[in-house]
């Protein structure tokens, strides 16, 4: 199963459409979490989707998927890394009204070198990259520890307890 998730705030038609086009010609099941759709937002016809799912459903889809396809949001990145899932992501563009600023492009650039993370530069790349990643049985990166870096934890502990 492929799990498409675009966050909860805004729809992401370019990515949703690209995945729908892929799903039209493939048997692999896809489930999409598409965010708050607007009246003119794209509504996929080739896979099951909902606007929102509960945290438990999200967790179940995440654990059950072969590939996570997502916007370049930190929630998706940390989820993929934590649960050891390969991630294909595409950044939202503010110039296309998909986000408030271009920070997802910076995030995508920063994380594209990381094992298990793959970045589609545009919607044309999405379908071919899904094919490629499934065919290669793409591996996820090294599993992430559950905690922030020790330095950061120590800094916050000291702050909380007025030490140092």
């Amino acid at each position: 199963m492929i799990f498409l998730t675009v966050g909860t705030q805004e729809p992401f038609d370019r990515l949703t459409k690209a995945v729908d086009a892929w799903a039209a010609t493939h048997d692999e099941p896809v489930f999409g979490q598409l965010g708050a759709l607007k009246p003119d937002s794209y509504r996929p016809t080739h896979f099951e989707w909902r606007e929102f799912i509960s945290a438990d459903e999200y967790q179940a889809k995440l654990e059950g998927c072969r590939l996570l396809v997502a916007h370049a949001g930190m929630g998706s990145i940390i989820s993929a890394l934590t649960w050891g899932k390969p991630l294909l992501m595409m950044a939202r563009r503010a110039t296309m009204g998909e986000h408030r600023n271009e920070h997802q492009r910076a995030t995508a650039e920063k994380f594209r070198e990381r094992a298990g993370i793959h970045v589609a530069s545009g919607e044309m790349d999405v379908g071919p990259m899904i094919d490629e990643l499934l065919a290669a049985e793409a591996n996820a990166g090294d599993a992430l520890s559950a905690e922030a870096s020790p330095d950061l934890i120590a800094t916050l502990r000291n702050f909380i307890h007025k030490l140092g």
Binding site: G75, S76, I78, A148, L152, T155, L156, K162
Partner: protein, 157 residues
């Protein structure tokens, strides 16, 4: 026991906040989030660490384009802080974190803003606004750090 309020919006901010959990072991900790959805999981995680959740508080979700919701969220965060009276507030954003920083300072708490790791090129808007009011102002990217804040002390990954 030090009373801590850990607060953020749902999604990536929340996932980052939970990765800080060991920082408030041995504290009385309240969580606040813009979704009611995460209570069971955070309670399970916290119980496993031996630092049970003292309270989970769901607040209205909002963003810059939903002004009425933003006002509602602001009032909820204000009333939450007035009720809980935390000694320390830690937030990863976004607007809920900004309100927590401002109300927290007003009510005498020490407050920390950790800017989201999603902001690799510039600070978030809420971070730029909240940071100067924070007692501890952190970024997760060394290239964004400045002498007078934000400071870089590591990241959630």
């Amino acid at each position: 026991m030090v009373k801590v309020l850990a607060i953020s919006s749902t999604g990536g901010h929340w996932v980052q906040l939970l990765r800080l959990m060991p920082a408030w072991d041995d504290c009385e900790v309240h969580y606040a989030c813009t979704s009611p959805d995460h209570e069971a999981r955070v309670r399970a995680l916290a119980d496993a660490r031996g630092t049970p959740v003292a309270g989970y508080h769901a607040i209205t979700d909002a963003n810059r384009w939903a002004k009425m919701k933003l006002v509602k969220q602001m009032l909820e965060v204000g009333s939450l802080i007035a009720r809980v009276r935390p000694d320390v507030i830690i937030t990863t954003g976004a607007s809920a974190g900004y309100f927590a920083i401002r109300f927290g300072k007003l009510l005498g708490a020490r407050v920390c803003w950790l800017d989201s790791i999603a902001n690799a090129q510039e600070l978030s808007l809420s971070g730029a606004k909240a940071g100067p009011h924070a007692d501890l102002w952190l970024t997760q990217w060394p290239e964004i750090a400045r002498e007078n804040g934000p400071h870089y002390k590591g990241a959630v990954l």
